[in-house]
Symmetry: C2
Subunit: 340 residues, 2 copies
């Protein structure tokens, strides 16, 4: 539904301008006018120039199809990170548990999770987080976890936007996906969040299949339960896909340095991934989203300004959501928001 709404206007425009039949719209027709939600400015121009340059078959910077790998952080880069969706999931699960066992309202760390008491959770640290992770994401099979996440996404709504999380993707970034795909790029997501969590929604939100999602993971064991072989999710971290672990996991999943990478300003979590891409032999492109749009999304800064400092040092492209994006969310999301 949403996708149709998004695409309608550009296709119509192309049809009018080129005088072609509307009967068979293709990505190529759509992307004839790429990045429509981006204002004319240096960042939009940089993206268009880069992709044009590296896809020119006889050009000096031509990148063959097999190397056209694009990697995007998720929270804060592709959809909002206020709240972090996986934390909303965890809270919803603990609320369900507390409905069965009200004593959890008085028991830490569940009490803190239920009240959104971040101060307590920060101070309680890793053991508390492991207990919450174990309660909501471990000690069950992969299939049980996936079913639990699916149930969450069916009814959950973004508290500010009022729409399902799958409809909170940034429209300009979806257009970057469309444009890169039309130019032969593979789209990957490299999230600090859980790999199995995001995989449940990555297709609906971004048309990214599960095998193109990289993320934090817990340890699993192949065991027999009730006469069936399952992967059992253990309450032990395998990889926290943040900062320097992002390049490590990109290498594990993709096997080469990405050409195009995008992250965002918040915790410095994407700096290593952006550097890793820039270190490839040959041209590359780095994009950093800066959240400076309190009216349409959120405005927040990074305490140590490490990402913006790195962006300046390494000449990365910084997106001002306020100035570079004409639209933040797709039409459908906006309509739902007004209807509230």
């Amino acid at each position: 539904m949403r996708k149709t709404n998004r695409i309608k206007t550009p296709i119509l425009l192309v049809v009018l301008v080129l005088g072609i039949s509307a009967s068979a719209p293709t990505p190529a027709q759509y992307t004839a006018i790429p990045l429509q939600s981006w204002t004319e400015g240096p960042v939009k121009k940089a993206i268009l120039d880069f992709v044009t340059r590296v896809t020119r078959q006889d050009g000096p910077d031509f990148i063959p199809l097999r190397d056209r790998v694009a990697v995007f952080d998720n929270d804060g880069t592709l959809w909002p990170e206020q709240p972090i969706v996986q934390v909303a999931f965890m809270q919803a699960k603990i609320k369900e548990m507390a409905a069965q066992d009200p004593s959890l309202y008085e028991k830490q760390p569940y009490k803190a999770a239920l009240n959104g008491d971040l101060a307590y959770l920060m101070q309680a640290g890793a053991p508390a987080m492991m207990e919450l992770l174990a309660a909501t994401e471990a000690n069950m099979s992969d299939e049980q976890f996936t079913a639990s996440v699916k149930t969450f996404f069916k009814s959950a709504r973004h508290p500010k936007l009022g729409v399902p999380y799958a409809q909170t993707a940034y429209q300009p970034m979806l257009e970057v996906f469309d444009y890169l795909r039309a130019n032969g790029f593979q789209i990957w997501i490299c999230t600090g969040g859980g790999i199995d969590f995001l995989r449940v929604i990555s297709w609906d939100a971004y048309q990214v299949p599960p095998e193109r999602v990289i993320g934090s993971s817990i340890q699993k064991e192949f065991v027999e339960k009730d006469g069936k072989s399952v992967l059992w999710r253990k309450a032990q971290i395998q990889s926290i896909n943040d900062k320097n672990e992002k390049p490590v996991n990109i290498s594990l999943h993709i096997g080469q340095r990405p050409v195009f990478t995008a992250g965002n300003v918040r915790s410095g979590g994407d700096i290593a991934m952006l550097e890793y891409s820039q270190g490839r032999a040959g041209p590359s492109f780095q994009l950093v989203i800066n959240h400076d749009d309190a009216e349409r999304e959120f405005a927040y800064r990074e305490k140590d300004t490490s990402t913006l400092t790195a962006a300046k040092t390494h000449n990365w492209n910084v997106v001002s959501m306020k100035n570079d994006w004409k639209t933040v969310f797709a039409q459908h999301g906006a309509a739902q928001k007004k209807a509230q």
Copy 2:
């Protein structure tokens, strides 16, 4: 070159039979006569029947495109495992080192590796293997390792077949790849060998891109060396992709149970992966290669017969190389062999 040779005859046949122009051969035309190197028999019939059944749009067993995941073991399933290619690489690297430092000929475990003294290596166990791994695959950047493997594959030849390793793929399995691809399947390799080792050759040997290779891995660290950010390969195992770890890593890389899996009889290493596939909700297919062809390839058995026992219990399809395969290696390989 080899691919062209393989495809020529079927396309010609299709052109003659259907009376269509040869100007634009497509996979669909080629696979109109699939699995040509397979003898008519129960295994070939089972593959054809299965793929036909799950791709029939209005059938009860239809599997949507996004779920069509096929996973293949490598050594002994897609190419010979005598010798194991990565061991040949290790020996070649140690030979290079010994040319610089002849004392290695008298120093264990290098001496054993140089002499192919498996008895010593088995007895010396993990510490010896880690030392050899460190010497040949660790303490260098990803880029340095890849370059080293590329150099090896340029000159290395299979000792019995006399051709480059990229040309030792089993022709019947390449035809399974072609047939599955033409029917919308993703082809993945899940090897007990090193993920970064196989990725160097997976395209040339099988037309499988690096991101579709799953394997054993060592730990890496994102560090700065000589002013450049690199992934540094540490002499520490991260995952040994064998037995029960295969499903764990398939889940990590793909995020769903495969529909089609193939392994081979030797060490029981593929049983868990085959079970994992069979445990999916919906139809699945399991293939087991049995090496019983001393004349054209090799003949060997499994000590505990665990794989064949599991195949019988679970009703998996067992390939007799001797009886089910008309051809083992592609024409180009055979021609080179005779030319020796």
